[in-house]
């Protein structure tokens, strides 16, 4: 590997995602963010590691749970918050909401609410990169649920046939909404084994293994970048909150107690912190910088105007 994981940067990126999502959760009850929000608390690490692998010129496309991916690509924070508030200054001018984020300047091409929907679009972007002979990769974020969609198989197959510069990043959080893996996928067949059978270069990792996850993602990406065909990394992770919304949903009982205790109480941010040798002052400074960025993003969103109805109805077709 030509580079090593920067743990301090990893901590800062993951903390930023955590704090942005926490602020959304805290303020959700005020009733001004009136759209579904799928928060990434507990799933910060895959995005924070991805941030150290992605290069200028690369692009990413994502899912309904897109906040962390958008932020990791450098997506504009005030515009994301304004979008969740339904404001004209939002990254999609208030027409998309939390599930439809975009920042073209940063190569974040979009996120889509239908499971599996953005996968083939990302593969098409990869084909464009190949046709343009760009030295760049199209990253596609998806979850374990999307593996069950036909669009995943169709897209992966096509990407393999054409050796496209595409990297699939699968965040396996074990649940599709409230349904666990066992009724959805055979227990003795891993996502990675399925991907390998399709012809993807593949590896599997746990997000708690920071160095391992980084080195696997970096190595697969390099291989793809070098023209050796598409890759898939399966990153085992866990969401802390409910599928959609600002609270937990433990009262529903769909996640077994032992799992909740074992996985939910894990704090990967704390784990990174323990391996860093920063002073309390350093941490306070880092946090206060992030908080001031978040505060100003929320002020921007709250004080921005709504789009006009004329702007919305005039926006269906390109001219």
């Amino acid at each position: 590997m030509n580079q090593e994981l920067d743990l301090q940067q990893l901590y800062k990126s993951a903390l930023r995602i955590r704090l942005v999502e926490s602020m959304i959760a805290d303020k959700y009850a005020e009733g001004n963010m009136r759209c579904p929000v799928h928060l990434s608390i507990g799933q910060e690490i895959p995005s924070a590691i991805f941030q150290q692998v992605v290069k200028p010129g690369d692009t990413a496309i994502s899912t309904h749970r897109a906040h962390a991916h958008y932020l990791a690509m450098g997506g504009n924070l005030p515009k994301m918050i304004a979008e969740i508030y339904g404001k004209a200054t939002g990254c999609s001018k208030g027409r998309g909401g939390s599930m439809h984020l975009i920042d073209l300047e940063k190569g974040f091409l979009g996120s889509s609410a239908i499971v599996g929907n953005s996968i083939p679009v990302g593969v098409g972007v990869g084909l464009a990169k190949q046709l343009n002979k760009e030295d760049a990769v199209s990253f596609i974020f998806l979850g374990d649920g999307a593996i069950e969609e036909g669009s995943f198989y169709e897209s992966a197959n096509f990407a393999v046939v054409h050796k496209l510069p595409v990297v699939f990043i699968v965040e396996n959080n074990l649940y599709s909404v409230y349904t666990g893996l066992s009724p959805r996928q055979p227990e003795d067949r891993s996502i990675c084994a399925l991907a390998k059978a399709i012809g993807l270069n593949c590896d599997v990792t746990n997000d708690s293994d920071f160095v391992g996850t980084y080195s696997k993602l970096a190595s697969l990406t390099k291989n793809t970048r070098d023209g050796n065909g598409p890759s898939l990394i399966e990153i085992n992770t866990y969401r802390k909150l409910e599928h959609c919304g600002p609270n937990d949903d433990d009262h529903l009982g769909y996640r077994p107690i032992h799992e909740l205790e074992g996985l939910k109480e894990r704090d990967l941010l704390q784990a990174i912190k323990e391996s860093l040798s920063l002073s309390t002052h350093d941490y306070e400074l880092m946090e206060s910088e992030i908080w001031s960025e978040i505060d100003s993003a929320f002020s921007f969103a709250e004080s921005s105007p709504f789009p006009t109805y004329e702007q919305v109805i005039g926006g269906v077709y390109a001219n």
Binding site: I114, P120, S151, N157, G315, V316
Partner: protein, 352 residues
């Protein structure tokens, strides 16, 4: 010298591949020995398999790939040899292609053309002959083009390719062999999407049709003209955008309306036109507006009954006469019924 619609489509694709390095075509069969009914024949040899791209049998993902290409600066054209297979791609059509421009605040758009070929007759049956243009017209963000005549197919296809939005281009299989003179001045004359064409000017009744139905309608109109009945035939060219203005102006003159639609009647586009006319026109009609379309029944395969099921010149002429309260001439059926009702012309012998 004559050419036909299939050759016209081939000519337009060839020209775009030649002139625009960002234009490419994809679909199952675009580089095969039959070349999608001859409409892509020879293009892969000429422009390479990267720009004339054979695809896996993956309609949904390949539509998404087209969206990905389109948002990356390419101008893809996709083709499906039967519209019915494209039903597998509804997620990418409706949730991606049609929405992308709108839901990302207009920052990104999807200039993609999707050619869908509709089967008709020769035993195409329930799953190879569906006319689903009404579905597509229902989706905000799409445009829907239905070419009829060989003289206009090139211009309509070029306008669809030039459009910065997703365009559904529906080719009834039976338009492919329609003939036109190669020096016809209408060929390549630019057509703006959303402008209907008044094929015949008339005073007694307005007939509105689209796609292959306009060819059948024209047969009926010509026959009726021979017995002194004056019909204004409007070929829509595009059902979305819809040129209501041309329809309303015509109805104001004729005060009678018949819509000919190749779709099944329930929630059909034909009813959209009738409803629009009634809602937007102050004209006092002389008769109830009427519709010729398919019943709420899938297409039967048997060639023994297809003539009764399908809309043809006979049914159109009879409906016009009924609307005008004129009895059918004795020779109507004989004059307008083809020798075989399940083929476009005698040269068609299947099997595809």
């Amino acid at each position: 010298m004559q050419t036909n619609s299939a050759s016209e489509i081939l000519r337009v694709l060839d020209r775009n591949l030649k002139e625009n390095p960002k234009f490419l075509i994809s679909g199952l069969g675009v580089a095969d020995p039959k070349g999608v009914f001859g409409t892509t024949l020879g293009l892969s040899e000429k422009y390479g398999v990267q720009r004339v791209l054979e695809t896996p049998t993956s309609e949904n993902a390949m539509t998404g790939v087209g969206v990905g290409l389109a948002i990356s600066g390419f101008r893809p054209l996709m083709v499906h040899q039967r519209l019915d297979f494209f039903i597998l791609a509804m997620d990418q059509l409706v949730n991606s292609a049609a929405k992308w421009h709108f839901m990302f605040g207009g920052q990104s758009s999807v200039p993609i053309t999707i050619r869908l070929i509709t089967g008709r007759g020769w035993g195409q049956g329930p799953t190879h002959s569906q006319n689903l243009h009404s579905w597509f017209a229902h989706i905000p963000g799409l445009k829907v083009v239905m070419p009829s005549f060989a003289s206009e197919v090139a211009s309509l296809l070029q306008a669809s390719i030039n459009d910065p939005n997703p365009v559904i281009f529906i080719e009834d299989r039976w338009i492919h062999n329609q003939q036109v003179d190669v020096v016809d001045p209408r060929i390549d004359k630019p057509i703006e999407l959303g402008k209907a064409h008044v094929c015949t000017s008339g005073t007694q009744i307005t007939v509105v049709s689209s796609g292959y139905m306009s060819i059948e309608s024209l047969k009926a109109v010509n026959y009726l003209n021979g017995i002194g009945i004056s019909v204004e035939l409007i070929d829509l060219r595009t059902i979305k955008p819809l040129d209501m203005q041309t329809i309303l102006m015509s109805v104001e003159k004729t005060k009678n309306l018949l819509v000919v639609d190749s779709s099944n009647e329930i929630a059909s586009f034909g009813k959209e036109i009738i409803a629009n006319t009634l809602m937007k026109s102050d004209t006092q009609l002389l008769s109830r507006p009427s519709l010729v379309s398919l019943p709420d029944v899938p297409e039967p395969t048997s060639h023994g009954v297809i003539g009764q099921y399908r809309v043809s010149a006979v049914k159109i002429a009879q409906s016009i006469l009924r609307t005008l309260a004129i009895p059918d001439p004795a020779d109507l059926i004989e004059a307008l019924t083809p020798l075989k009702e399940d083929v476009p012309d005698a040269s068609f012998t299947g099997p595809f």
